[in-house]
């Protein structure tokens, strides 16, 4: 297990390294010279040249990459070009706001997705099963930004219960803070619950038909016990993998949902950076989100191994 863990960790480091090359490489294609953007439209040639000199923009690409990368390794992502502040604290602050959104959404997705899926499977082909199926079909068929807009219309405009966007300040009281989170979290959750419950349902149905569940029932164990103690553990294995994939979705969708609700998180920061061509900010943002996703996958693999006695990582895992 430790060996497997180490191997995966090295793999992730390698992947992150290749990613940094990719992110740096692609952002170098960005049109519009950074120096001209910084100096403003009406700057004369000598000012631009001076900025180019200062930022080392005339150096060969590998040298620029090396300078950037050696900074990244020690946590120095450079200066934001537009805001003229170091990138790291900017990104971390935004990331913390996003992490609250994503964390809450993830917990809700896990709890409700699995519960709905199990309920649907246990009551296969009865009303609650069909209800869950229809709900999830609609859920995955409409993009989350549209659900976000529907939510704003219903809960903010017509009912007036919740604010339509922005983030609350904790100084104004917990309630104000929470009220700003409700709609974005629901929006983030909706599609993914559909996704998770669909998968849990089919995996649970397969398990309930399996040999050992029949065995358990034949022993005369109560149905609730069979489902909880025997079926669930195996049925949830594929769900773990899907939950890890959903972390990726979550990290991506958060960009869209933050745009809908004007929520000041990493997604909005990234879109802002793209709009203003703020290279260091774009690079750091994308790299950070990708890194979180990588680690989510690692954790999922470890959990999978923990829950599945059939897999024992070791020689076979290489």
């Amino acid at each position: 297990m430790t060996l497997y863990f180490l191997k995966r960790l090295i793999g992730i480091v390698l992947i992150l390294f290749v990613m940094s090359l990719l992110v740096f490489g692609i952002t170098q294609i960005m049109p519009g010279n950074v120096a001209t953007i910084l100096a403003g439209q009406f700057a004369d040639a000598s000012t631009v040249a001076a900025i180019e000199q200062r930022l080392g923009l005339n150096d060969p690409a590998y040298l620029q990459y090396w300078r950037w990368f050696s900074g990244v390794v020690v946590g120095d992502f450079g200066q934001s070009l537009v805001m003229e502040r170091p990138v790291l604290p900017l990104i971390l602050e935004a990331f913390a706001s996003s992490a609250i959104l994503a964390g809450l959404a993830f917990v809700l997705v896990t709890v409700f997705g699995i519960t709905l899926g199990v309920v649907a499977a246990v009551r296969e082909n009865r009303f609650s099963d069909h209800a869950v199926s229809v709900f999830s079909y609609i859920g995955i068929s409409v993009p989350e930004f549209f659900w976000g807009i529907v939510a704003i219309l219903v809960f903010a405009r017509y009912l007036g219960w919740l604010p339509s966007g922005g983030a609350g300040n904790l100084n104004d009281g917990v309630l104000a803070w929470v009220s700003h989170l409700v709609l974005p979290v629901i929006t983030l959750t909706f599609t993914l619950i559909a996704h998770v419950s669909r998968l849990t349902r089919s995996s649970m149905i397969d398990t309930l038909r399996s040999q050992y569940v029949r065995n358990a029932r034949a022993k005369g164990l109560p149905e609730g016990h069979v489902i909880r103690r025997h079926a669930l553990r195996n049925a949830l294995l594929p769900t773990i993998t899907v939950l890890a994939i959903d972390v990726g979705w979550l990290m991506g969708n958060i960009v869209v949902v933050e745009a809908v609700f004007s929520y000041p998180g990493i997604g909005r920061l990234l879109l802002f950076a793209i709009e203003r061509h703020d290279l260091p900010l774009i690079q750091a943002g994308i790299l950070l989100i990708a890194a979180v996703y990588c680690f989510a996958n690692l954790i999922a693999d470890i959990l999978y191994g923990y829950f599945n006695p059939k897999i024992r990582y070791g020689h076979a895992a290489s």
Partner: protein, 301 residues
């Protein structure tokens, strides 16, 4: 077939009892074609509407009118008008064209790049396989939207770039699927026979393996069309895809966002249209999968 009440012994028993199995068999026969049928009919209608959009739309999708700004739905404008007085219904119809084209074109891009790579990796194995698979590892380590974002962030956005970017996002999964199918087929006798005849690699991949690999690839691709439509809409929504005055659904919703309290219909119409489109393609894909998937077939009897 052993009786369901027989002593539970290891192996040899069917997966489920007798009665539910039979019930399921009927359902498999009844359900799969129904989904397929409904999906196919819906999609045909949508494609027809999209193709005929310029002729059946009551107004031009770019016709502006200051007098008719933000009018609610009425007999003249079935779904109202937007902030420039453009007819929302006409724009929605034209949007169907863009969305469907986006979805299918992006999926085509992922197939054109992904299938040959997957065939090659699965058949040749060795270092080629290793390089291709490690590259897909890297691409799969980005959340899908992030990969699209990364590709679209650097140059001025446009529709064809969006299509290519969305296509590339789905290349890794296409490669993996094709590779795993190819791995299975490469050991088959007809492939070995072709190899023994001294056929070239290209011939074996193209004439022996590909025709047998198509069905699962196409089922997967049909489901991916909807992902492509949704991803494309999301990227257009955040301003990295289709640009104004295009009537792309994602863009329409994004433009309607500031007007929500005054004219909700501008945002609702394209959203509903997108939902219907995605449901149609999903039904078709699910139906196809249920009809073709050996797993469901076996389960069905």
């Amino acid at each position: 077939m052993p009786h369901p009440d027989a002593a539970p012994s290891e192996g040899g028993l069917p997966k489920a009892g007798r009665l539910p199995r039979r019930r399921r068999r009927f359902q498999a026969i009844r359900q799969a074609p129904l989904k397929l049928l409904v999906g196919a009919v819906l999609l045909t209608v949508l494609v027809a509407v999209a193709a005929a959009a310029p002729w059946i739309a009551p107004y031009g999708f770019e016709d502006m009118s200051i007098l008719k700004r933000l009018k609610p739905p009425s007999a003249a404008n079935w779904l109202g008008t937007d902030e420039f007085g453009r007819d929302v219904f006409s724009r929605m119809l034209m949007g169907a064209r863009l969305s469907l084209m986006m979805g299918f074109a992006a999926t085509a891009v992922s197939l054109v790049i992904g299938v040959p790579l997957g065939l090659w990796a699965g058949y040749r194995r060795g270092p080629v396989d290793e390089i291709i698979m490690r590259s897909t590892d890297v691409l799969l380590s980005f959340p899908p939207i992030m990969l699209g974002l990364l590709m679209l962030a650097v140059t001025p956005p446009s529709l064809w770039k969006l299509i290519i970017a969305v296509g590339i996002v789905y290349v890794p999964s296409t490669v993996r699927l094709t590779r795993s199918i190819t791995l299975g087929l490469a050991g088959e006798e007809f492939v070995q026979a072709a190899r023994a005849r001294g056929e070239k690699t290209f011939y074996i991949l193209h004439a022996e393996i590909l025709p047998n690999a198509w069905p699962p690839i196409m089922v997967e691709a049909s489901l991916r069309v909807t992902f492509a439509i949704l991803l494309g809409a999301a990227l257009s929504f955040i301003g990295l895809g289709a640009q104004p005055p295009s009537s792309d659904w994602g863009l329409m919703i994004s433009e309607a966002r500031p007007l929500l309290d005054r004219a909700p219909w501008v945002a609702l119409a394209p959203g509903l249209a997108m939902g219907i489109t995605v449901i149609a393609v999903n039904l078709l894909g699910d139906g196809l999968r249920e009809a073709l998937d050996p797993r469901t077939k076996r389960r069905g009897g």
